[in-house]
Every structure is written in C-alpha cells, then in structure tokens.
C-alpha cells in the first residue's frame, strides 16, 4: 500500500501540474484512507479529503467534491489545524454555492468574510479575499429563495458597513428595502454571476430570473392594492400568464398575501398589517417627507 500511495501522490502531482484536475483527484481518491493495514493519522486523512475536494472544485464538480468534503466534516471537528479548517470552510461554501444551496452558502461565505486573522499558516488572508467572500455572501443571499431566513441574512449584510463599499451594494440595498429592480440593474448584476448561477432551471428561467421576478412581485405587492396581470407582466418583464403562475405559487406557499380574480385577470394584494398600524406607518412617511422639505 505504501508504494501505491507514493505512486498515486506522484501521479496526482503531475496531473495537477498539467491542470488535469479531475484526473489528479481520481488518482488521490484511490488512496485507501481507512485501510486497517497502515496507520493513517487524522491530519493526513483530513489533508487528503480537502485536497481531493479542491481538485474536483477546480473542475466545478460539486458532486464528487461534496463526497470528500462530507468525509472531511467528520474529521475537521477534532482538528486544530487552522489552515485545514480554513480551507474546509472555503471549499464547503463553494460546494454549497455550486449545488445552488444559496442560503447556506451565503451564511458560510459571510462567516469566512468575518475572520479576524490575516495570516493562517503560510496563507496570507488579504482584504481582497475577504471582500470577495462578502460579495459572494451577498450574491448567494440575493439568489436564495425569498423567506424569513433570507430576510434575516439580508438585514445582517445590509447593516454590515463593509458592504456599503462593495460594487454590489446598490442591488443589496434595493433588495433589502424591497424596492423594484429594473432590467438594466438586473443585467448588470447578472454580469457578475458565475456560470452555475446563470444555469437554466426546468421552467426555462435562470435562478437569477426566478429570484428577481419573485422579489419584484413582492415589492409590487407592497406598492399596489391591486393590479391587472397585463400591467404586472409589463412591470416584471414577463408575459401575463407567467406572472399569474408565479403569483399563484407564492400565494400558495404563503410568501405573499393576496387573491387572484381570474375572470377580471386582476390580483388583489393584501397586507396583514392592521389598518391602524398602516396609518401610523403612513404618518411616519409623511413626517419624514415634511422633515426633508
């Protein structure tokens, strides 16, 4: 086994130098880390799992990478090696991102962006890297399905003053304040996305389209008392039938309050805030407008 291991590591090194990432990963994954014959210490096993996951990630192969990062999950809790723990966190966040588990990926990216140390092992943690992690956290949060958990993460990011310096901040602000996003803003945001974040879903929409349409629909429900699907489709940039389907799904999933009159083809938005509370909110808006004047 010892000789096989040495040959495998050597071959993997060569594949890696030729950037044949998956071949290198397959070579290393053939090493039997749980063999009873040889004593393999936990650190070596953790190092190999993380290395194989990294190589698969170079080829955006989240499925194989996840298998090895899950193995690493059992080992990392007992490890005290900062570099390995750091790498595990980074690769795990990327795998969640690749698998479109945007909500969890956002939380992990945000955790990475908050690290205080600037030196882990011989790895330099620079501000640009942290800013990149923060941007990734914002992107994943925006792409995540609307709901209370996403709103909480949005609020955390919006209140983190580092975000106000990011290029992505205008989008974050509009999403957090539930304002309607116009097509040019969405296209600009789309430029920044990675390939897997722009992949088409079964209903022929990208993840971004879905996230943006749902967001704009929720924003419209805050603005209008009711609206025809003709107008709503124009506002969302999609055809009226599609708008009706998405609105119906969100109402069924209790992510939006309202009712649909299919005869008149109108959606009536409801707001469970008590009238008296709405009254107070309107007064706040009026006083603030007066204050501005």
């Amino acid at each position: 086994e010892e000789q096989v291991l040495v040959i495998r590591e050597k071959l993997a090194e060569l594949y890696e130098s030729e950037e044949q990432w998956s071949k290198a990963a397959q070579m290393l994954s053939g090493i039997d880390l749980d063999s009873g014959i040889r004593m393999v210490d936990e650190k070596y096993r953790l190092t190999k799992c993380i290395q194989v996951a990294r190589l698969y990630l170079e080829d955006d192969d989240a499925v194989n990478a996840e298998a090895f990062i899950n193995k690493a999950s059992f080992l990392v809790t007992n490890s005290s090696h900062e570099v390995l723990i750091w790498q595990y966190k980074v690769y795990y966040a990327r795998i969640l991102d690749l698998k479109r588990k945007f909500q969890e990926a956002a939380l992990r990216y945000y955790e990475i962006s908050q690290i205080e140390k600037r030196q882990i092992g011989d790895e330099e943690i620079d501000e640009a890297g942290l800013e990149q992690a923060l941007t990734a956290a914002v992107t994943c949060t925006i792409l995540a399905a609307a709901g209370p958990q996403r709103s909480r993460v949005l609020a955390t990011l919006y209140k983190d003053e580092r975000c106000s310096k990011l290029k992505i901040y205008p989008i974050l602000q509009k999403v957090y304040l539930e304002r309607i996003l116009r097509k040019p803003e969405i296209d600009a945001f789309s430029e920044e996305l990675k390939a897997h974040q722009k992949a088409l879903l079964p209903d022929n929409f990208t993840v971004l389209d879905r996230a943006m349409i749902e967001h704009n629909l929720l924003s419209a429900s805050k603005l209008y008392t009711n609206i025809s699907f003709e107008e709503l489709g124009a506002l969302l940039g999609i055809d009226p039938q599609k708008a009706e389907k998405i609105a119906a799904r969100m109402i069924c999933e209790d992510r939006m309050m309202g009712s649909i009159d299919q005869v008149e083809s109108i959606i009536h938005f409801e707001d469970d805030t008590e009238e008296l509370q709405q009254w107070d909110q309107q007064i706040v808006g009026l006083c603030q407008a007066l204050n501005d004047i």
Partner: protein, 311 residues
Amino acid sequence: TDAIYFYDEAGQAQVQQEKPWANDPHFFHKVRISALALLKMVAHARSGGTIEIMGVMQGKIDGDTFIVMDAYALPVEGTETRVNAQADAYEYMVDYSQTNKQTGRLENLVGWYHSHPGYGCWLSGIDVSTQMLNQQYQDPFFALVIDPTRTVSAGKVDIGAFRTYRQGYKPPDEPLSEYQTIPLNKIEDFGVHCKQYYSLDITYFKSSLDCHLLDLLWNKYWVNTLSSNPLLGSRDYVSGQISDLAEKLEQAENQMAHLRLGSFLMPSHRKKDEESQLTKITRDSSKIAVEQVHGLMSQVIKDSLFNSVCP
C-alpha cells in the same frame, strides 16, 4: 458637564477603604444614571418581552450617591423564578469586568438591574434575598428594577432603585412612595417584604456627545411621537390590568359581603382598612382610564391632523 465621566481611581479606592455605608443602613439616598446606561437597560428590558431579564451596572460612588456609567446584560433570564439567578452568570461577570479593565474602563460593578414586565418596580422576596447577599459581599451595591411594559404604556421609563436593610433592622416609618398598582398575584410577595428595603431617588445625566447625538435623533423623536399609538401597543397589558382589577373587586366584594353580617361588630380601623382597599381599586381603575383617555386623545389629534383634510 463631562467631568463626571472622569474616573478618580485613588478617590474610589479611599471610599472603598473607609466604607461609610457600613455603619448606616440608610447611608445611600440617590442614584445618578447616564443616558447610555438607561437606554441600554430599557432596550434590554424590552427585548425580554414578558420574560424577566437581568444585567449589571458599572460606575462609582460619590458621597451618598451611586453614579451609574454603563450597564450590560447577563446571559440570564426568568430572574423571578430562580433564587439568585446571578450565580449563573458569575463567570461571565468576572470575565467581562476583567476585559473591561484591560480596555481602560476602571469602573467597578455598583449594582444589578432586572425587569418586572407589567407588574411595577418593587423588590420581590427573591429580589430582597439576592440584594441582601449582594450588600453582604459586594457592597456598595444597589438593585434597580425596570418595568418595560408600563414604560411603553405610560410613555416614560418605569424604573425604581432600591437598597435593602440588614436582617432584623427595624426601619423608621417610610413616607409613602408614589402609588403603583400591584397585581393580585404579586400583592402577597410585595406586602411581606416592602419594609425590608427603601427607594433611592433617581436622576439622569448625559455627556456633551450624548446631547449632540440626541439632538440629531430629535427628528426621529417627534416623528415617533406623532406616529405612535399607545392604545395599540399596550392592549395585552391593559386587558391584564383590567382582569386583575376585576379579581380585586371580586375579592373586596366577598370580604364586604362576609363582613356585612358582623358589621356592627367590626372595629372602625377594619372599616377604614376595607375602604382603603376599595380606594386603591378605584385609584387603579381611574389610572387605567386616564391612560386610555390619553391614548384616545392622541388618536383623535392624529385623526384631525392627518385625515381631516378633504382632497
């Protein structure tokens, strides 16, 4: 105005040495609280909702006055249902105080605060025993109570500061402090212990920076005043108060009925006692009514101010 924020370490050490409070159970009379500490304690009390929260206060002594500079929350909840809840947080308190000193904050702990959501500011049996322990081992130390629910409904901070007497001490007759409604389910606890402690006068102070910041916040303040609705926010509390009042009426009525049989036998001071009970109930109900009318007045003013303009 900012001199109060300077900490005189030697002076404080000397006071700790002399311990003037050790021989006079009524030594302390006043408390001065910084705007920062007050805001943090009220925000913490409100965050607990109907669950009692607890925290400690840092500051110093100036003659017979406690000066509170800052306050921080302890990882403890439900203080009224456990004896000396503070014990759960000792480790936290020690760490926090030491870390604080490392950052140059030299103030010591001068007291603990906790909340009584909806039932007013006084010391319960558990509070009295906790405070007696504190005065035995951590003096100078005082107890502060905040009622976040009444703070919202009355529109001003419902707060009380107290010191306990040593065991067995017989205090001179206290001048009646401001009347407050004690719920029926707490009246026993209140009655038994209210002679074991006394209140301290509370005043507040703020730094020049606080003044500047609060002025900047002024715009938020007047908007909040015009757009707030005390009736909406305190519904649960008011219905709780009314049901408590009904129970007291029920109790008073039973006692009256019971006494009517032997009323000619009843000595005059008992009759006076019954009246004072009914007087209290009357006072409680008019207090509730007045607060409700205040809320209604603000609603009517808002209605005429913002809704009466015809387009």
